[in-house]
């Protein structure tokens, strides 16, 4: 009897690809542990670097920037690893042999990168608060940092996934990813640092800065993710 095969919907294929990444992480815990430990070490380094400066600077003004340095560096580590499994044993070719819209591979990989980075942020943001903000008084609007964190993490994961795919076959891919990633993510980073700092400091006009920055970050996310979606077939086939 011939085997019954019906091409699944794009959403089902997306779900299958995403579930595979999560299952793999469940077995290895590689992404979460390496990103988590790295983030903790960066926090320790920040602590050591700032310990000698005591009262000569305003930690509230700096904390937004420090937090995003932590997120960007940690995400680079995860992005570099996210495709190493696909490269091993030619697994990516196995996926490309399947009749599917190549953009689904982008969406699924970007989603898993987003989830891993968000999980690490869930751990590190409270620690960051504990290390750097308990000795001072952040504004009551502090909780609003959730939104720039979400918008920034979505953008970092989307842009980073495209670039990780581009650099997967290049020599010195780790450095290459960083060299391409930092300039491309800069506008997003700038807007997120601005929004994060605004709500931590809580000046009179902080809401205006906050929403303007979020608008810039959100707009950049939409443009870059749509661009990645459109370009992905070409990038992954090359």
């Amino acid at each position: 009897m011939p085997l019954e095969v019906a091409r699944p919907t794009t959403f089902k294929q997306y779900r299958t690809l995403l579930a595979k990444d999560l299952r793999q992480e469940f077995h290895t815990k590689e992404m979460l542990s390496s990103m988590g430990i790295y983030a903790l070490l960066v926090l320790v380094v920040f602590g050591a670097a700032l310990a000698q400066t005591a009262n000569s600077f305003d930690i509230l003004q700096m904390s937004g920037g420090l937090l995003w340095v932590l997120i960007v560096f940690t995400s680079l580590l995860g992005l570099n690893r996210s495709f190493s499994h696909e490269k091993e044993n030619g697994c990516l070719e196995g996926i490309l042999l399947v009749p599917l819209d190549r953009s689904v591979v982008f969406l699924a990989k970007a989603s898993s990168n987003l989830l891993f980075l968000a999980a690490v942020e869930l751990l590190t943001v409270p620690l960051f608060y504990f290390f750097f903000l308990t000795t001072t008084t952040p504004a009551e609007s502090f909780w609003l940092i959730v939104l720039p964190l979400v918008v920034g993490t979505v953008g970092v994961s989307g842009i980073g996934t495209l670039l990780a795919t581009i650099t997967i076959n290049t020599r010195g891919k780790d450095v290459m990813l960083a060299v391409l990633f930092i300039p491309l993510v800069y506008p997003l980073l700038y807007a997120c640092v601005s929004a994060t700092t605004a709500v931590i400091v809580g000046n009179e006009s902080f809401l205006e800065t906050y929403f303007q920055s979020l608008l810039l970050a959100g707009g950049y996310d939409v443009i870059m993710i749509l661009l990645s979606w459109v370009l992905y077939d070409f990038v992954i086939s090359a």
Partner: protein, 240 residues
Amino acid sequence: MASPEPAIAVKSLTKTFGNRRAVDNLSFELPHGAFLSIFGPNGAGKTSLLRILATLSRATSGTVLIRGIDVRKEPDKARDHIGLISHNSMLYPDLTAEENLLFAAQLYGVADPAQRVSGLLEAVELKHRRLDQVRTFSRGMTQRLSIARALIHDPAVVFLDEPYSGLDPHAVEIFDGLIAAIREDRTSIMVSHDLQKGFNMCSHALVLAKGGMVLFDKRESLDYQDFSQVYAKTVGMGVA
């Protein structure tokens, strides 16, 4: 009744990398159920040809039809009929054997993935290791599982890229049996460096050198001694 349309038709196929012609104006046809062995020295264009046929690479010019489907115009439709077994297993080492096969079955849209996976694991004699991570498998076991993965959607055309590479004699024996089963009702193309084995298995033989065709014929029209002399001469031509 067998369809008169060839299972695979290659017409004036060329692939260039810069100034180098990896595949140079190749044309041949294979009927349904044929088993083609491709031979040639390193750099002859065997893997480049196989990658184009498997839709993993685009030809610079020329046409490939898989069961009448143009792989350039309708790659997804062609992929429904293609399975690839390579020296790369395409298996995730951290997933179990069952998870790897279920993943592939769900991506292809196999109607009853669990049953299909169970049947294939039994066929490749790995059912007892279904819950073990692929990382713990020997090379031979991994290669058997990669056969199951390639056949998960029951493709009509199977490409084998040096499938025997790295296997010990016992694994080769098991693998021979599996390949014999694959051939039934399928069209297969195998890239091989083992002249005797590839010749014995095939219904058609193709020898490539510098991307071009040196010889293409049915095995029944070929004498192994003459064939091996042609091959030795071809290897003497060196790489492209």
